[in-house]
């Protein structure tokens, strides 16, 4: 195996593009090193992107936030502006692993590892986040929900890397939240998870919403019917019941040691309802 730590994105993309063997990007390494240890992957080339300028920075811009792909999750909560604008995204990212893992793991890595249970992903999808992808041919942007292609697979092409994750500016009277169900209190993988982002008007009526579910399908689900169920409402009991039903209806989960199909389907509705309640309160709704 060769280890490279290029100084620019261009160099990193070129190294990955011309590698004939198996190549991996190294940011936090909390998935990659575990897979290497287990013999699940045997890289010929590892490209460490942490020495690329800006890769570990969080920038606040007029259109929102640009989070460098190698930014460790612990740095998200240390950024007061980000925490204030997108508490749901930050909370989701902070649920991943221990303090030790938080010091290294990244949201971009969480996305590219493409686990259906990735905690950061439903929150990013609900927030309407985009990824900036770079390759030797230039850059392109994709919505976060368009990145996973299946369990452990993404739509990234050979030689293409995530350079940054972009979050939009927070809209007035909006709020986001993320919840997951786990049988423990921490250090576990989501059985079901849900991210909700919504905006209300001066009367507390929801004018826009995005609802995303995790761990109930091969990839994250953006559930438009669940959003429709609460738009136009003040998140009254009837709207919440419709939301829960729409979330459950979207589920295509598997049975495994963490939960059954029936349990995941039922709990998806519960998570959606509770996350929506938190998001609504954060938006200033009563």
């Amino acid at each position: 195996m060769r280890y490279e730590s290029p100084a620019t994105t261009k160099e990193a993309c070129a190294l990955l593009a011309k590698e004939k063997g198996t190549a991996f990007v190294l940011a936090g390494g909390t998935d990659l090193l575990v897979k290497m240890k287990a013999g699940m992957v045997e890289p010929d080339l590892v490209v460490d992107i942490k020495r690329i300028k800006g890769m570990r920075d969080i920038k606040k811009t007029a259109s929102g936030f640009v989070i460098g792909a190698a930014t460790p999750n612990v740095a998200l909560s240390e950024n007061a502006a980000l925490l204030k604008a997108w508490p749901g995204v930050v909370e989701a990212a902070q649920l991943i692993g221990s303090k030790q893992v938080q010091g290294r793991c990244t949201m971009a890595g969480n996305l590219c590892n493409a686990s259906p249970a990735a905690d950061a992903v439903p929150a990013l999808v609900a927030a309407g986040a985009k990824v900036v992808l770079a390759s030797v041919n230039g850059k392109r942007k994709l919505a976060v929900e368009d990145v996973p292609a299946g369990v452990g697979r993404t739509v990234l092409k050979k030689g293409e890397i995530v350079e940054a994750i972009e979050l939009p500016a927070k809209k007035p009277k909006s709020g986001d939240a993320y919840l997951r169900f786990i049988p423990r209190t921490e250090m576990d993988i989501a059985v079901v998870s849900c991210g909700v982002n919504l905006t209300i008007d001066g009367k507390g009526v929801i004018t826009a919403a995005r609802v995303a579910l995790g761990a109930v399908a091969p990839t994250v689900l953006l559930v438009k019917d669940a959003a429709k169920a609460i738009i136009g409402s003040k998140l009254d009991d009837a709207a919440k019941a419709k939301l829960a039903a729409a979330a459950s209806a979207a589920c295509r989960p598997i049975d495994d040691k963490r939960g059954t199909v029936e349990f995941r389907t039922e709990v998806a509705g519960v998570m959606a309802r509770r996350a929506a309640e938190i998001a609504y309160a954060r938006a200033g709704g009563k």
Binding site: Y3, T30, K99, G103
Partner: protein, 157 residues
Amino acid sequence: MAVLVKTTINGDTVEYACQPDEPLLDVLRNRLGLTGAKEGCGTGDCGACSVIVDGRLTCSCLVLGAEMEGRTLETIEGMATGDKLHPLQQQFIDHAALQCGVCTPGFLIAAKALLSKNPDPSEEEIRFGLAGNLCRCTGYDKIVRAVQAAAKEMRGA
């Protein structure tokens, strides 16, 4: 091909050569003789290999030795000042917060990282802060008490 690395460990400049796929934990233990960090799981679950890299608590099993060029590393070997134990180390002894001792260096490093950010943590904050460290002997209670006592001592209270 070996990677040459120059880094700072516990305040000293250290140079080493390692394999490109060699975890930092193996570099510390097998090349540098710093055997305080332990390999429990090797997959970032147990925290026995905890070190602090550029101020961030990290599992050294989840870091490549090759990544350490120009970084600043703190390990358990740098915790005491000469013969004088760090308050956390002394309180772990006084509270019998260890039995077999394999997890202890990791707990001490993680507790130090916790107290550097939060000098007066609640019991819950300590338990969450140390959730990445597994101990199969003590049942954790004595560890939590030791950290509370050390935090109090370090605050000068």
